[in-house]
C-alpha cells in the first residue's frame, strides 16, 4: 500500500511515462468529444430547423380568386396565404382582406355580418374590418392585406 501512495505522490510532482500517456489520451478524448458534439449538434440542428425547403415547396407570395366568391356583399371567403388564414369580405364596395388570427392568443376570429365585426370566440375580442380593436383583451389590431381588383379577379398580397 505504501509503495502505491509513494508512486502517486511522485507522479504528481514528476510526471512519469504512464500518467503522461494517460493524460495525453484523456485530452485527446476531450478534444475529439468537443469536435464530435459540435459536428453532430450542427448537423442535427440544421436537419430539424424549419425552412421553406423542409416544409416542402415554396409558399405563394400572393393569391387570386374570382370576384364571384365574395358576392353578395357581407359574405366571407376564407383563404390561406403563406400558411395563414385570411378572410376576404366585401362591404360597401370595398374589399377587405384581413388576418383571422386573433392577436390575443391565436384563436380564429369569426365574421358577424349583422354587426360588421370580427369576433373572437375564445376571449371575446372584437375587431372592425380595418383590424382595429373594438373591445376585449386583444393587444394589437389584426394585420390587413392589400387587395386589387383586376377584371373579375381579386389579387391579395
Amino acid at each position: 500500500m505504501e509503495d502505491i501512495t509513494k508512486h502517486e505522490e511522485n507522479s504528481s510532482n514528476n510526471i512519469d511515462r504512464r500518467s503522461f500517456f494517460e493524460q495525453t489520451i484523456n485530452i485527446g478524448i476531450v478534444i475529439w468529444g468537443i469536435i464530435a458534439s459540435i459536428g453532430a449538434g450542427y448537423t442535427g440542428l440544421k436537419y430539424i430547423w424549419p425552412t421553406e425547403k423542409t416544409r416542402g415547396g415554396v409558399d405563394d407570395k400572393r393569391i387570386s380568386l374570382p370576384l364571384s366568391d365574395i358576392l353578395p356583399e357581407g359574405r366571407i371567403k376564407k383563404v390561406i396565404l403563406k400558411g395563414r388564414p385570411i378572410g376576404v369580405i366585401m362591404v360597401d364596395n370595398n374589399v377587405h382582406a384581413i388576418s383571422l388570427i386573433c392577436t390575443h392568443l391565436g384563436c380564429i376570429v369569426e365574421w358577424q355580418p349583422d354587426k360588421n365585426i370580427l369576433f373572437c370566440p375564445c376571449h371575446a375580442s372584437s375587431f372592425d374590418l380595418n383590424g382595429n380593436v373594438l373591445g376585449g383583451p386583444a393587444p394589437k389590431p389584426l394585420p390587413t392585406y392589400e387587395t386589387k381588383i383586376v377584371d373579375d379577379k381579386i389579387i391579395i398580397g
Binding site: 448537423t43 442535427g44 440544421k46 436537419y47 430539424i48 430547423w49 425552412t51 425547403k53 423542409t54 416542402g56
Partner: protein
C-alpha cells in the same frame, strides 16, 4: 490612507476570486457531475472509474470487440431513427413521399437516412461475427448459457427490427417483401392463417399493416431491446469475460 489602499486591494482581489468561483460554479452544471461541488456530494467520478477502468483479462483480442461494435451500431440506429421520425409520416399516402423528402430536401437527411440504413445492415454482420466468436471460444457454455439464450432473443429482435423497418418507406420492394414475408407464417399448420391475419391486421398488406409495423419498429421493439440488452450486459458483468482456451 495607506491602510485604506490596502483594504481596497484586498477587496478587489477577493472580488476577482468570487467572480472566478462564480464562473466555475456555473460550469459545474455542465461538468459538475464528475468534477467540483456536485461530485463532492454524489461521488460519481469514483464509481464511474470503477466501471470504466475495470481491467480486462490479458487474452482479450480484436474478436472480442464485436459485441460492443454491435451495441454502438444499435445506439447509432436509435439516434438516427429518432431523427428520421422528425419528418417521417406513417400513412400509405405520405410515407414514400416523406422518405423522399428526408433524402432530397431536409439538410443532411440523406446522411441520417444513410446512417440508419448502413448501420442496420452492418449490425447483422457484426452480430454474426460476435456469435461465431462466442461459438468457437466455447463462451456459450455454463454458466454463460443463459446469456447465449438472451443473445439469440436479441438476434431475433434485430431481425424483426429489419423486417418491420423494411416496410416503412412503402415502396414496391418493401410492399412485396412484406407480402411475401407475412405469407410465410401463413404456412404454419392450423394457426397459420390466423397468424398472418394478426400480423397484417387484415387480409392484405395495407394501412393497418404499416401502422402496426411502425408501432413495432419505433416503440415496442426498442424498449424490449433495451431491457434485454441491460440483462445481457448485467449477466456479462456478473460472470466476467470467458477464459481463454
Amino acid at each position: 490612507m495607506f491602510r485604506q489602499k490596502e483594504i481596497n486591494d484586498i477587496a478587489k482581489k477577493t472580488e476577482k476570486k468570487v467572480n472566478l468561483k462564480g464562473i466555475l460554479n456555473w460550469l459545474t452544471l455542465a461538468t459538475g457531475l464528475f468534477y467540483g461541488e456536485l461530485d463532492e456530494r454524489l461521488e460519481l467520478r469514483d464509481s464511474l472509474k470503477k466501471v470504466l477502468k475495470k481491467p480486462v483479462p490479458g487474452h482479450v483480442n480484436f474478436w472480442f470487440c464485436f459485441g460492443g461494435i454491435t451495441f454502438l451500431l444499435f445506439v447509432i440506429n436509435a439516434t438516427s431513427g429518432v431523427m428520421l421520425l422528425m419528418y417521417y409520416r406513417p400513412t400509405i399516402d405520405h410515407a414514400y413521399e416523406s422518405v423522399v423528402h428526408i433524402t432530397n430536401n431536409a439538410p443532411f437527411g440523406w446522411l441520417i437516412r444513410g446512417f440508419h440504413h448502413w448501420s442496420a445492415n452492418i449490425m447483422m454482420i457484426t452480430i454474426l461475427i460476435h456469435m461465431v466468436r462466442i461459438y468457437f471460444y466455447g463462451a456459450y457454455k455454463p454458466p454463460r448459457d443463459l446469456n447465449w439464450v438472451v443473445g439469440v432473443i436479441l438476434l431475433c429482435l434485430t431481425l424483426t427490427f429489419g423486417f418491420t423497418g423494411y416496410l416503412l418507406p412503402w415502396n414496391q420492394i418493401s410492399y412485396w417483401a412484406t407480402t411475401v414475408g407475412t405469407e410465410i407464417p401463413g404456412a404454419v399448420p392450423v394457426i397459420g392463417p390466423m397468424l398472418k391475419n394478426l400480423i397484417r391486421g387484415g387480409p392484405d398488406v395495407g394501412q393497418i399493416t404499416l401502422t402496426r409495423f411502425f408501432a413495432l419498429h419505433v416503440i415496442i421493439l426498442p424498449w424490449i431491446m433495451v431491457g434485454l440488452l441491460a440483462l445481457h450486459f448485467l449477466i456479462l458483468r456478473r460472470l466476467g469475460i470467458s477464459e481463454s482456451l
